[in-house]
Subunit: 249 residues, 2 copies
């Protein structure tokens, strides 16, 4: 439950317990059964929830919903990574949020009853649990605890967003970039030698958008980070050496 580093670009939710969790309600089948927003669902609503529930397998780069689309579903990511982006009329796009396993998305539009203001797209092969808005509303209206959980997630997300904004200027681009990559590697288990090797789920343009930089700057800073020995990167392939226990606090 330890709070992640002050300036963490991306924070994790609770860690998945085990996949062997018995599927007691629709969402119980995923690893986040206990932590699911739908968890304390009233028995009489369980069937209703099951009705609006379905699971979806996503290929890398597959779209989940488009910007401006009506928000008639709430999503929970059980595997993989999902990016939330917005494109504006002038063509500029920004990286709104990275969704990690166990997190829900699409709920902001669901709560506000507005069309999605972001586009959701799988960054890797992924699996999402989908709950139709109609059933979701019934469940939410029937069980205040679920609504409370939703509100809590929203509050958490709000804090994260604020932290992001506050820290978006802190330090130089290199430091922020390194932090972003470290955060992206958080799910990856280190190799035997302590080095974390993984495929970067974000393009240079994505990283640039996430950090408020130009793609060229990302390239250059990455190279400087390489030269400084902070990491090795070739294309999307990253090697992140053990952080040498520098995380004091």
């Amino acid at each position: 439950m330890a709070r992640r580093g002050e300036g963490a670009i991306i924070a994790t939710m609770t860690s998945p317990s085990d996949d062997s969790d018995p599927p007691r309600h629709p969402c119980g089948a995923c690893a986040f059964g206990e932590a699911s927003v739908w968890r304390p669902v009233a028995p009489e609503l369980r069937a209703r929830l099951a009705q609006g529930f379905r699971r979806r397998q996503l290929a890398r780069d597959e779209a989940i919903y488009a910007q401006g689309a009506p928000a008639n579903t709430v999503y929970c990511l059980s595997r993989g990574l999902v990016a939330l982006r917005t494109t504006r009329e002038d063509g500029h796009y920004s990286f709104v949020r990275l969704v990690r396993p166990g997190e829900i998305f699409g709920f902001r539009s669901f709560l506000a009853r507005q069309p999605h203001d972001t586009e959701a797209r799988a960054l890797t092969a992924a699996r999402v649990c989908v709950v139709a808005a109609r059933e979701a509303r019934e469940v939410v209206e029937g069980s205040p605890q679920v609504l409370g959980g939703l509100a809590l997630r929203c509050a958490i997300e709000l804090r994260r967003s604020r932290d992001l904004r506050a820290h978006s200027r802190r330090g130089d681009a290199g430091g922020r970039l390194l932090r972003l990559i470290r955060d992206l590697s958080a799910d990856q288990a280190p190799d035997a030698d302590g080095v974390v090797r993984f495929r970067l789920p974000l393009s240079r343009a994505d990283m640039a958008a996430a950090l408020g930089l130009a793609p060229e700057t990302v390239t250059r800073r990455l190279r400087r980070l390489c030269e400084a020995g902070a990491l090795r990167i070739s294309g999307r392939q990253v090697e992140l050496p053990a952080p040498a226990a520098e995380g004091g606090g």
Copy 2:
């Protein structure tokens, strides 16, 4: 109900209807009775809400709660302006949010059941409605609609925060600064000649923190804006000429 400009630094909630609204429930006394989060309070809970309810008059620069303080209250601003700021260990502080009349604050910590991560301070003489967390929780647990309203506010705030982050880099510092000042003047009625005259509620340092700039840059850009005729400013006193109907769509 028209949505504010895309890049509005600060968005307004609903406009106050009238002060003559009969005080049907504790919050009915303020101008936002109809729009209050506590509004659809169940009759049996009204007394409970009244118990935890009180009103507070604030002088300019008076603190409402400190960063790190336990979040045992939820606030609704009925008059004046309030600033939410965070200070970090290294001394740097950031301007998290400006609270306008009709908006609630302190609810994020209330929802997350965490101590306040921001400090709240009145920027002008202000009046807040305070609801004790204990009673607030009872009301929220007893009436899902109130919780729903709270969640909605949270969702709105989340969107605002995201927009802020996405736009925080857009355009040059001068443009963002002018937009900030225009937003700050939104409550002010224009003079007979169409010029809006008001006292700036933010210090240079606050504006800098809100925009991610250095105070010196704020000073310089303000002067350039003056020279360009976009506004007149002397100390905290601002004159904002009519925006020449440039607000297209």
